[in-house]
Amino acid sequence: MGKESRDLFPGALEMMILQTLDRRPMHGYALAQRIKAVSDELLQIEEGSLYPALQRMLKAGWLESERGLSPKGREVRIFRVTAAGAKRLESERQSFERMFAGIARVMETA
C-alpha cells in the first residue's frame, strides 16, 4: 500500500460509507470497489477495514443488513442506511464541511 497515504481522521470512513450506501444499498465487496473507484484511487483503504466499520455502524443503528442478490446474481448480504443513519450522515457532513472550510481558510491566509 502507498507509503504516502495518511490515516483518515476518525469518522471519515463511516461518513464515506454512509454517503455511498445512502446513494444505493450494496454489499461489502461492491462498497469497497465503489469507494476505491469514486475516490479515484486517491484514498488507499484496506478493504478489510470496512468490515469492523460496518459492524460498528450496525451496532449504532445507522445501518441495517439483509439478504439480497448482487448484480452478478450471487447471494450476498446487503447493507442499507437507516433513518438514524441518514441523520448522522447529514450532521457529519456539516461538521466536516465546517472543518474543511476552517482549515482551508487557515491555509490561505497563513
Binding site: 477495514s49 469492523p52 460496518l54 448482487s70
Partner: protein, 884 residues
C-alpha cells in the same frame, strides 16, 4: 433482536463473499486461481485479525474475559477433582472457623445497644478508694448530683423489684424481671413505647405520683403472657398480686437494664417516700444512669462528679461509710455490660481462629504453587500465543476466587453448625449469645474474608507463574530448572510457616488442658458427690404477712427428708460455686467496718457438704428464734478479723451482726475454707446465719428469702430423684415447679465453664492445624520425590544405598520441621500473654507444655514424611532412568 451468534455468522459470510467475489474477478482477468486467492487475501488485509476486530464490536471484552476465565477454571477443577476438593476443604475449614468465631464476637461485643445514641449513656456508682464495692445511690445524693452537675443532659435511676416477680398472664403466671424506674427513664434512653403513651413525663421528685399504678410491659412479656393482645393498653394486670394499669408496650428488642436474667421485663415507677429521705440502712438505693451533654467526654464528667462527690460524701455521718462513698465512677454503659474477662477470652479465640485460617490459606497457596509448576507448559503456551501478563494473573486469581467462594459456601455451613453446637454445650452462665442470626456485619466480614483468602492464596502463585520465562518451559524435558529449585525452597518455607503457627495453637491448647486438669483437682473443702441442688425461685409476694421460714422452708425440709433415699436435706442461700445469688454486707464489728458475704443456711448443710469445723460448733436444732443469736464464719473472715490470729477460738462469742434490733448474733464456730465463687479464686470472708433464726422482723429477712438453694444428699440416681423433688416443690408452691435442678458435680464443672469451652475450641483449632500442617508437609515431600525420581534412580545406579535416600527425604522434612518449631516457639512465647487470663496453676511459658507440643508436632511431621521417604528409597533405577 439479533443474537450474537447470528451477527458473527453474518459477518463471516460477508467477508467470505467479499473474498470470493474478488477471486472470481481476478480469475476472470486471467489470473490463475491460486494466485488470485493469494492476492485477494493480501489485498484484504489480515483476515483473522479483521474478523476479530469486527467481532469485538459486539463484545464486552472485560466481562468476556472474566467469564472465559471462570469457565476455564471450572473445567480445570472438574478435571482435577482431588485437587479441587483438597483446596476447597482446606479453605472451608479456615473460613468456617473464622466465621464462627466472628459470629460469636459480633453477637457479644459488637451489637449496638437498643437506645438512641448509646455512646452518651453512662452509669454513676459511688465507691470507695479501693473500689471493691460499687454502691447504689440514695435519692438524696442523686438530688445533689442533679443540682450541681453541668455535664448531664438528664439523669434517671432505677432498681430491680425486691424478690422474684410474677405477672398473672392470660393462662398462667410468668416470672418476669420487675424494674422500678424513674418516669424519665425511657425519655432519657430515647425510646418510645411501641404501643400506648408510656409514663407521663415528670422529673423525679418527692411526691410525684402521676404514674402511680402504671406499668409498661416489654415486648416478650406482652407476647408470652398476653398473646399479643392488641387492646392491652388500659387493661389492669396483676404483678405479684398487685393491680397495675398497662400504659405501654416497649418495642421488640428493648430491655433495660441489659445483661440481666433472661426473663421478660416490666417497668413501674418509683414513688419516693419516707425511705428516701435519709442515707441510712433503711433507705432505698438505686442505680443511676445519665446521658452526657453533646460534646462532654466521660473523663470530663468523671472529673466533675469527683468534685461534686466530695460535698455529697460529707453528708454521711459515719466516717467509714463516708470513705466507702467518697468517689463516683462514671462509666460508659456499654463498657460496663461486658465482662472484661469474657471480652479478652473471645478476642483471644478469634485470634486463634484467625491463625487457623492463615494456616489453611498458606496450605492452599502451597497447593496452587505446586499446580502452577505442573502447568508451566500450558501457561507458557498461552503467553506465547499472546496472553498478556495481566491476563495470566487474572486467570489465576479468578481460579483462586472460585475456590475461595466454594470454600466460603461450605464454610458457612460448618460455621453455623459449630456455633449451634457450641451454644448448646456452653454453660448459660457465660452469658454469651450463641444465636445463629446473621446480620450485615457478619455477611460483610464473610465476603471480605473470602476475597482476602482468594488473594492471599492465589496471588503469589499467579505472579510467579506470570513472571516465569516462556522459552525454557516450552522446551522439552525442562523440568528441573533453577527456577524449580527456588520454587521448592519457597514451598518449604511456607510449610515451615505453617508448622510455626500450628505450634502456637497446640501450645495454647496444651496450656488450657492443663488448666482444666488442675482446676478439677483443686481441693474444695467440701464434698460434691451425690448432692442434688435445686435453685428455688421463691414467690415472696405470697408470703408477705407470713413467715417464709415457718410456712415454706421448714415444711419443705421436713417433707424432703422423709422422701425415700434422702440422707439429708438443707437450705442455703447459694451453694458454693452456684453463681446465682450472693449478698454482701458491710458490718460494724469492734469499731471496724467489715465486708463479708452473707449466707443463710439450715443446720443440715454441714452434714450434706461434709465441711469441717475448725473451731466451735455449727448450727443445731437448738438454735431457734428465741435462743441466743448465732453466726458461723469461715477462715478468710477469721484471718482478717480475729483478735488473735493464731487462735481462732478468740473469735467465739464476738458479736458480729444484729439479727434483729434486740438480737445480736455471736460467732459460735469457724467453718473450713471453701471455694465459694470460683475454683480458681481464694475464698472471701463469709458469715453464715441460721435459717431458723430469721423472722420477718429481721433486717435480712428479705434478702434471705427471695432466693434459696435446696441441697439434697441422696444415694439414689438424680434422674429418679428430680421428678419426685419437683412434685414436692410444686405442692409447696406452684411457682417452685419451674426451679432449676442440677447436681453439685455439674455445678463445679460449670464453674470453670469458660475454660472448658476455650479448651474445646482450641482442641478443634489445634487438631485441625496439626492435620493441615502434616498434610501440607506430606504433599510437598511427595511432590518433591516424584519430581526427583530420575535423580534418585541415578543415585542408586551410582551406588547409593536405600538408607541414604531415605535419609535424604527425612532430612528435608526435618529441616522444615525444626525451622518451623524454632520460629513457633518464639511465637508461642509472645502470644502467651493472650491466654494468661485463662490459665490456672500453669504459667503461660510453661516449659513442659512447650516441649510437649513441639514434640507432638515434630513426631507427626516425621511420621508423615516417612511415606514419601520410603517411596524414594524404593525407586527402581531402571524405570526411573527410562522415563522421559
Amino acid at each position: 433482536m439479533y443474537s450474537r451468534r447470528r451477527r458473527y455468522e453474518e459477518l463471516g459470510e460477508s467477508m467470505r463473499e467479499h473474498l470470493a467475489e474478488r477471486v472470481d474477478e481476478l480469475v476472470e482477468q486471467g489470473v490463475p486461481r491460486e494466485e488470485a486467492e493469494y492476492r485477494a487475501r493480501r489485498e484484504f488485509g489480515n483476515v483473522t485479525h479483521i474478523e476479530e476486530q469486527a467481532r469485538a464490536v459486539w463484545q464486552w471484552p472485560r466481562v468476556e474475559s472474566l467469564w472465559a476465565d471462570v469457565k476455564y477454571a471450572l473445567r480445570q477443577m472438574r478435571r482435577s477433582k482431588g485437587f479441587a476438593a483438597a483446596a476447597v476443604g482446606t479453605l472451608a475449614l479456615g473460613i468456617g472457623a473464622a466465621a464462627a468465631m466472628f459470629t460469636v464476637v459480633d453477637h457479644v461485643l459488637l451489637q449496638p445497644l437498643p437506645y438512641k445514641d448509646p455512646g452518651r449513656l453512662v452509669t454513676m456508682d459511688e465507691h470507695g478508694p479501693d473500689s471493691r464495692f460499687q454502691s447504689s445511690t440514695p435519692w438524696v445524693d442523686f438530688v445533689q448530683w442533679r443540682a450541681a452537675s453541668r455535664s448531664f443532659e438528664d439523669m434517671a435511676f432505677g432498681s430491680g423489684m425486691m424478690g422474684r416477680s410474677y405477672i398473672q398472664g392470660n393462662s398462667a403466671s410468668l416470672q418476669v424481671g420487675g424494674q422500678e424506674v424513674s418516669e424519665n427513664l425511657f425519655a432519657l434512653l430515647g425510646v418510645k413505647p411501641a404501643m400506648g403513651p408510656g409514663f407521663v413525663a415528670e422529673q423525679p421528685a418527692m411526691g410525684a405520683a402521676k404514674n402511680h399504678g402504671s406499668i409498661v410491659l416489654s415486648h416478650s412479656v406482652w407476647e408470652s403472657a398476653f398473646a399479643g393482645d392488641k387492646n392491652i393498653v388500659g387493661r389492669v394486670v396483676r404483678v405479684n398480686d398487685e393491680p397495675y394499669t398497662v400504659v405501654g408496650v416497649m418495642p421488640a428488642g428493648f430491655a433495660y437494664p441489659l445483661g440481666g436474667a433472661p426473663f421478660g421485663q416490666v417497668w413501674t415507677t418509683i414513688e419516693l417516700g419516707k425511705k428516701d429521705q435519709g442515707r441510712d440502712w433503711e433507705s432505698s438505693y438505686y442505680d443511676a444512669i445519665g446521658r452526657l451533654r453533646p460534646g462532654v467526654t466521660v473523663a470530663a464528667a468523671q472529673a466533675e462528679m469527683t468534685t461534686i462527690q466530695k460535698q455529697v460524701a460529707a453528708q454521711y455521718k459515719d466516717s467509714e461509710i463516708r470513705e466507702s462513698r467518697s468517689l463516683v465512677g462514671v462509666k460508659r454503659y456499654d463498657d460496663s455490660l461486658i465482662d472484661k474477662d469474657v471480652k479478652k477470652a473471645l478476642l483471644a479465640l478469634l485470634a486463634a481462629a484467625g491463625v487457623l485460617w492463615l494456616i489453611a490459606s498458606v496450605n492452599v497457596t502451597n497447593l496452587l504453587l505446586a499446580r502452577a509448576t505442573a502447568r508451566q507448559r500450558e501457561i507458557a503456551m498461552r503467553g506465547a500465543l499472546g496472553a498478556s501478563r495481566a491476563r495470566l494473573v487474572q486467570q489465576m486469581l479468578v481460579e483462586g476466587l472460585l475456590l475461595s467462594a466454594g470454600a466460603a459456601a461450605l464454610g458457612i455451613g460448618l460455621a453455623l453448625l459449630a456455633v449451634k453446637v457450641t451454644g448448646s454445650v456452653a454453660p448459660v452462665r457465660l452469658n454469651v449469645n450463641f444465636s445463629t442470626q446473621v446480620d450485615w456485619r457478619i455477611l460483610a466480614a464473610l465476603c471480605g474474608l473470602t476475597l482476602l483468602t482468594a488473594v492471599l492464596a492465589s496471588a503469589w502463585p499467579a505472579l510467579m507463574a506470570a513472571k516465569a520465562p516462556i522459552e525454557p518451559a516450552l522446551k522439552q524435558g525442562g523440568q528441573q530448572t533453577g527456577a524449580g529449585r527456588r520454587h521448592n525452597r519457597l514451598r518449604s518455607g511456607l510449610v515451615a510457616v505453617e508448622v510455626a503457627m500450628s505450634l502456637t495453637l497446640l501450645v495454647a491448647c496444651g496450656l488450657l488442658l492443663r488448666t482444666i486438669y488442675t482446676l478439677r483437682h483443686v481441693p474444695l473443702g467440701y464434698r460434691t458427690d451425690h448432692i442434688i441442688v435445686a435453685n428455688l425461685a421463691i414467690p415472696s409476694y405470697r408470703f408477705t404477712d407470713k413467715s417464709v421460714e415457718a410456712d415454706l422452708y421448714q415444711p419443705l425440709l421436713q417433707r424432703t427428708q422423709q422422701l425415700h433415699g434422702v440422707d439429708a436435706a438443707g437450705l442455703i442461700s447459694e451453694v458454693p460455686l452456684g453463681q446465682t445469688f450472693n449478698i454482701m454486707l458491710s458490718l460494724r464489728m469492734n469499731g471496724n467496718t467489715i465486708t463479708a458475704g452473707l449466707k443463710t443456711v439450715s443446720p443440715d448443710i454441714q452434714k450434706i457438704f461434709g465441711m469441717k469445723m475448725l473451731a466451735g460448733r455449727f448450727f443445731t436444732s437448738g438454735d431457734t428464734p428465741t435462743s441466743q443469736g448465732v453466726a458461723v464464719v469461715n477462715p478468710a473472715f477469721a484471718r482478717e478479723y480475729a483478735p488473735n490470729k493464731h487462735d481462732w477460738n478468740s473469735l467465739l462469742g464476738m458479736k458480729v451482726w444484729n439479727l434483729r434490733k434486740d438480737m445480736p448474733a455471736r460467732i459460735v464456730g469457724v467453718l473450713e475454707d471453701e471455694r465459694q465463687t470460683a475454683v480458681a479464686k481464694p475464698s472471701q470472708p463469709e458469715v453464715e446465719v441460721c435459717l431458723c433464726q430469721i423472722t420477718p422482723a429481721s433486717g435480712i429477712y428479705q434478702p434471705s428469702t427471695i432466693a434459696m438453694d435446696l441441697a439434697v444428699r441422696t444415694r439414689r440416681p438424680a434422674a429418679e430423684m428430680i421428678p419426685e423433688l419437683r412434685d414436692l416443690l410444686k405442692q409447696a408452691s406452684p411457682e417452685l415447679a419451674n426451679s432449676k435442678f442440677s447436681t453439685m458435680d455439674q455445678i463445679v464443672e460449670d464453674s470453670f465453664g469458660s475454660q472448658r469451652l476455650a479448651a474445646h475450641l482450641l482442641e478443634v483449632f489445634g487438631g485441625s492445624a496439626l492435620l493441615l500442617c502434616v498434610a501440607g508437609l506430606y504433599g510437598l515431600l511427595a511432590y518433591v520425590v516424584s519430581q526427583r525420581t530420575r535423580e534418585l534412580g541415578l543415585r542408586i545406579a551410582l551406588g547409593a544405598q536405600r538408607g541414604n535416600l531415605l535419609w535424604l527425604v527425612l532430612r528435608q522434612a526435618g529441616a522444615m520441621l525444626l525451622t518451623g518449631v524454632a520460629v513457633g516457639l518464639g511465637l508461642a512465647w509472645v502470644s502467651g500473654r493472650l491466654v494468661r487470663g485463662f490459665l490456672y496453676g500453669v504459667q503461660a511459658h510453661d516449659a513442659w507444655t512447650l516441649a510437649g507440643a513441639a514434640l507432638v508436632l515434630f513426631a507427626s511431621g516425621m511420621l508423615a514424611a516417612y511415606l514419601p521417604a520410603r517411596r524414594a528409597a524404593g525407586v527402581n533405577p531402571m524405570e526411573a532412568l527410562r522415563s522421559e
